[in-house]
């Protein structure tokens, strides 16, 4: 008996890696539905789309890693069902794989466009390496690009297309960009920065339909206001849905993801879930949430390995995120929420500044642009539970980096 991990992304492979480095002696099998060696997704919407974009994907682990650590990688194989009574995973071909512990690291799937014309050639989604390869070559010939959705992926793609000289229009049904992740203040600054770079942003405007051009490929995007935009390439980044159907079919509790406890166990204690697919009680949000990020995938992967090895500690790592949009490097520490008091630190005109989000007078999240030192300072302070006063943070010359150096050092020396 052994550990079986369904999913070969950051979270799944981290569970396998951390189990071995934590001393786990029995078999470890990773079932990954994509073929080949599991790879890093974040570069696919960033460096990979640049004109000189690297054609070789970056593997999450080398082929030799799996042999050296005695981890069985079954790639290009889909898990079809889980029989919890028999502690068995049934693969698409009918093969059965027994487990002592099972980990769902099944990630998310792109929310699909459902409007008329969504299946026209030239309309792209972005998730997998083949998706990125197709988009990379389509961008080389594209002149007019319409991006549906002003989230991280949409704006990363928009910035990459603009850098290649394309005319770029972004349609977003919400009133601002990245509304789910960013404070209105930072969202407004990003909207301005992208507009100055020549990207046409249309808020409060969703997609209604695509219409073909003479050659049968996509030619027009029609928005919910009736406006028509010429397009020879469309990319949609309209969010994701958790891959929790397999878990639900196995009788596990689901609801916007696979429901787990603070130690990342599902309603069946021999079954865990990690990463994008897991709905967990967050100490930072004060609520049950699902987080889509590299940090959450890797830190939960490490945590699930510790749970399997016998720990009952709650997962409480600080969430952090990043997005590279052209020359804009956005970094977020913590989780902001609607209604947070926001304080500006630094000068937005300089293109380097942070928005500090306070809740009940305490620092809850920090959004930074082109200021990695401030971001790292914020991570240290938030992880240590140290908060400046809002008035202190608003003063000229305030620095999270300096505060972190002073206060975290002081608190750890006590």
């Amino acid at each position: 008996m052994s550990v079986v991990i369904i999913g070969g992304g950051q979270a799944g492979l981290q569970v396998a890696d951390s189990l071995r480095s934590g001393g786990y002696q029995d078999g470890i099998t990773v079932i990954a539905d994509e073929p080949g060696l599991p790879y890093q997704r974040p570069p696919l919407s960033k460096d990979y789309l640049a004109p000189e974009g690297s054609p070789a994907p970056l593997p999450l682990r080398a082929a030799s890693f799996f042999a050296d650590k005695e981890i069985t990688l079954r790639s290009g194989v889909r898990a079809a069902a889980v029989d919890r009574a028999a502690r068995t995973v049934i693969l698409a071909g009918g093969e059965q794989v027994g487990y002592r512990h099972l980990v769902f690291a099944t990630g998310t799937a792109n929310r699909a466009l459902t409007c008329p014309g969504a299946d026209l050639p030239g309309v792209h989604l972005l998730r997998t390496l083949p998706d990125a390869e197709a988009l990379h070559s389509a961008l080389a010939a594209a002149r007019r690009v319409v991006v549906v959705g002003a989230g991280f992926i949409g704006l990363e793609v928009a910035a990459a297309a603009r850098a290649r000289g394309c005319e770029v229009t972004v349609l977003e049904f919400a009133p601002g960009p990245m509304g789910r992740a960013l404070s209105p203040a930072m969202g407004a600054w990003f909207a301005g920065a992208h507009a100055r770079a020549g990207i046409r942003l249309r808020f409060n405007e969703g997609i209604a339909a695509f219409e073909p051009s003479m050659d049968g490929r996509v030619g027009w995007a029609v928005s919910t206001t009736g406006a028509r935009y010429r397009a020879d390439l469309v990319v949609a980044g309209i969010g994701v849905v958790p891959n929790d159907a397999l878990a639900a079919a196995a009788g596990l509790e689901t609801g916007n993801g696979i429901v787990v406890d603070a130690a990342l166990r599902t309603s069946d204690p021999s079954v865990l879930a990690v990463g994008d697919c897991a709905s967990f009680p967050s100490a930072h949000a004060g609520a049950r949430i699902r987080v889509e990020s590299v940090q959450n995938a890797t830190d939960q992967g490490r945590h699930a390995a510790r749970t399997i090895l016998g720990s009952a500690e709650p997962y409480r790592d600080l969430p952090w995120f990043w997005s590279n949009q052209g020359s804009l490097r956005l970094q977020i520490a913590g989780l902001s929420a609607p209604g947070d008091q926001t304080v500006l630190s630094g000068d937005p005109e300089s293109g380097k500044f942070s928005v500090l989000c306070f809740r009940n007078g305490r620092l809850a999240a920090v959004e930074s642009v082109n200021s990695p030192g401030e971001h790292l300072g914020a991570r240290k302070l938030l992880a240590a539970g140290i908060s400046p006063e809002p008035e202190e943070a608003a003063a000229p010359g305030f620095s999270l980096k300096a505060l972190a150096r002073q206060d975290v050092a002081a608190s750890s020396s006590v």
């Binding site: 460096d47 970056l58 080398a62 030799s64 590299v294 990695p372 790292l376």
Partner: protein, 107 residues
Amino acid sequence: MNTVTFIQPSGAPATVSVEPGTSLMRAAVTNGVDGIVGECGGQAMCATCHVYVRPEFAAALPEPSDDEEEMLDCTTAERTELSRLGCQIKACAELDGIVVDVPAEQV
């Protein structure tokens, strides 16, 4: 092709051969060198590809960018004057045969 040698904290060396322009992080990750993580995919966002570049190669290194400079303040193992992020250093003729030490901890 250029070679890069990674020395583990145990003293064990691993020499890999890569195309010019390949970052040291990618060289390590694609060849299964222990101790180089590259969690963010080479975006200078995570500081998990920290290396100590042997001093004899210091003169041929590009200056760290402001971003790298700031990220180096966040490494898990102690930062020294030899510290760099592997994702920001690319193999090239001037750095052929570069030797770097891998820190004991990255996360």
